[in-house]
């Protein structure tokens, strides 16, 4: 292992400082720093501390349960898991081409998901850092503080998220953990009344999303030195892109670029993802470390998510968002931007694209159609890949003659960013904390870098690990509930 600051030479001689839990992110994670007596930093790690074992307990379940089960991986982007699993199950039921209504309803649902997740992340979780400063008063550094100081911004954030959730409710039946997509299609389309209700507000949402992009641009302009360098981590970038290289968050082929923007590969069929990507396990995190196989683990790690997607595609197929994409690309004079805070800018460009996409679909009568399901020759294996809010998401299943799942492999978006997040926090630690007395405000700098990636640590905790120890679980009355096994 040669990564700088990942592993200290003599950890036993060093002082440990922990950020536990990492707050204003979704899910559970902690950061540990090891410092010497001069506050020089020797080790920084983001640990994913939880595991739930989804990949294993999905096995033995009937395939048609899976799109509903796996969204319980994550309550923030349940639709992404719901759709990736449904896409993977489409060939299992022989639906090699969906009906236009089914595909468009799924795309609409997914745009709703992108919109609600991006709004939540920017306004509810990150805006306090960006509006008040990284070491501002802890008591104010939250959405309530934003509502007091910037009521209009907070209100727009809450209502943008609400609109995305309403799109999900109307297409999936329920805001969180809906059941709209099924292997082979969808189980409902939109009614005229539902469509008209969304149409009423969609133009306001587009205007507010444009404002959100401009707000981030203003922040960059006000402090370019910070925004252009904070958490800088040069890396490869991976995403799927659609027809003619246009951004497509629902379907496409894999494309990767290196840190300078040169293509590493392009047009790779998602069904061959496992020939392209490998995963490494490290002892200090339950989250694996994926990398591009051809480049090896030292050079092959990459970023996914908005920053990768906006720079990986050749265009965005909606007008306002594409205009903003070109502005973003011009900002660094054509070379790729790797500064962590630029994630926020690109995330807001994507939110704008999602709302524009919703508007276009609302004007398409196919979403009111009644042909919901497709059939054909059944297969035993399926791979579903989608661009979830946080990046490329892989679902892969095999099913036996009794329709039961026999194999499940998931690479979730946040896992794809594992190495990049670790690199970003080490960059920040070296730049801001190295040699200083550690304060709460300085530690929040580390969290700001993590938040930029919008990690979903809930999603990332689907794997399962072990510790060779023994613990007793005792109930409120002091009775032993059970004892943990040791050694395994």
């Amino acid at each position: 292992m040669t990564y700088h600051l990942e592993t200290a030479e003599h950890p036993e001689t060093l002082r440990r400082v922990a950020i536990d839990p990492v707050s204003r992110v979704e899910g559970h994670g902690k950061v540990t720093l090891l410092l010497d007596e001069d506050n020089k930093i020797h080790q920084v790690r983001l640990h994913i501390v939880e595991f739930r074992g989804f990949e294993r307990f999905i096995q033995g379940r009937p395939y048609w349960e899976v799109p509903v089960m796996v969204q319980r991986l994550c309550g923030i982007c349940p639709v992404s898991h719901h759709l990736a699993a449904s896409k993977a199950m489409d060939p299992i039921v022989g639906a090699h081409h969906l009906t236009p209504t089914a595909e468009k309803i799924r795309r609409l649902m997914h745009f709703g998901q992108i919109m609600q997740s991006h709004a939540l992340h920017f306004f509810h979780l990150c805006s306090p850092d960006l509006l008040f400063g990284f070491d501002s008063d802890v008591a104010k550094r939250n959405i309530v503080g934003v509502a007091e100081a910037h009521p209009e911004t907070a209100k727009q954030g809450v209502l943008l998220r609400k609109f995305g959730q309403e799109v999900i409710r109307m297409t999936a039946g329920k805001r969180i953990h809906g059941t709209g997509a099924i292997p082979g299609g969808v189980n409902k389309s939109l009614t005229v009344a539902e469509r008209d209700e969304l149409l009423k507000d969609v133009y306001t949402m587009i205007a507010w999303s444009r404002d959100a992009v401009h707000l981030v641009k203003k922040l960059h302009d006000a402090n370019p030195a910070l925004y252009n360098s904070f958490g800088l981590c040069r890396s490869n970038m991976l995403s799927i892109v659609g027809h003619e290289g246009a951004m497509d968050l629902y379907d496409g082929k894999l494309r990767a670029r290196d840190a300078d923007g040169k293509l590493i590969f392009d047009g790779v069929d998602c069904n061959n993802y496992y020939q392209t990507i490998e995963e490494e396990v490290r002892p200090w995190s339950y989250m694996k470390f994926p990398f591009i196989k051809a480049l090896g683990k030292e050079d092959g790690w990459y970023k996914v998510g908005p920053l990768a997607r906006v720079q990986n595609c050749d265009s965005i197929p909606t007008a306002f968002a594409d205009h903003e994409r070109r502005d973003f690309m011009d900002y660094a004079g054509g070379s790729p931007i790797h500064a962590s805070l630029a994630f926020h800018w690109t995330r807001m460009i994507e939110m704008l694209h999602a709302v524009e996409g919703i508007k276009e679909l609302l004007h398409d009568d196919d979403i009111l159609g009644t042909e919901l399901m497709a059939t054909g020759e059944r297969k035993r294996e399926g791979i579903g890949v989608i661009e979830a809010p946080r990046g490329t998401l892989f679902h892969h299943y095999r099913v036996d003659d009794d329709d039961l799942v026999t194999m499940c492999n998931l690479i979730v978006s946040t896992t794809n960013n594992n190495q990049a997040m670790n690199e970003a926090i080490r960059h920040v630690a070296k730049r801001y904390l190295h040699g200083h007395e550690i304060t709460e405000g300085l530690l929040n700098h580390i969290e700001v870098a993590i938040r930029a990636f919008d990690p979903c640590l809930s999603c990332a905790t689907h794997a399962l690990g072990k510790m060779p120890l023994k613990v007793e679980l005792v109930d409120a009355a002091g009775q032993q509930v059970h004892e943990l096994s040791r050694g395994l």
């Binding site: 707050s23 309550g75 309530v144 609400k162 995190s285 990398f291 809930s458 679980l473 943990l484 395994l488």
Partner: protein, 183 residues
Amino acid sequence: MNAPEKKKLKVATTSLAGCFGCHMSFLDIDERLFDLVELVEFDRSPLTDIKHAGKCDIGLIEGGLCNAENVHVLREFRQQCDILIAVGACAINGGLPAQRNPLSLPMILEEVYHTSPGLHNGLIPNDPELPLPLDKVHPIHEVVKVDYFMPGCPPSGDTIWKVLTDLLAGKEPNLPHELLHYD
């Protein structure tokens, strides 16, 4: 003269082994969030930077127990909250993660970290920073006293709103049939 400002109640929320869906559902009260913050002050929550809860009137907890850290966080949280509410399927009965309960831990580990496709190396994470997993997923009432259970996967924003506003008004929470869901 203005009436003296009513003291705000303190509310904390935390998450154990769950998917964060219950917290998302809490945010589904949408713009009523701004009414709520007139009545309550948030202590520890994934939305604030307070890492450990102080003394609170009401605590909402999502997720079940799947590792030693969950147990520790739950006990600390219970101690700080006058009223503890178990929110959602995972807190109440372990939820979907409890589907691993019939399986043996070593077998799951073996499959995820050794025989899973696309692995560069086989190795089971074992760093002391990683909390010890429980070999079964447990609901929270097996370990601490719970005052109220709010069912659903997740309970809807309206359900959470009704329970909170009932409590804030000093009433026993009462869910009408249409808000009482288990799905």
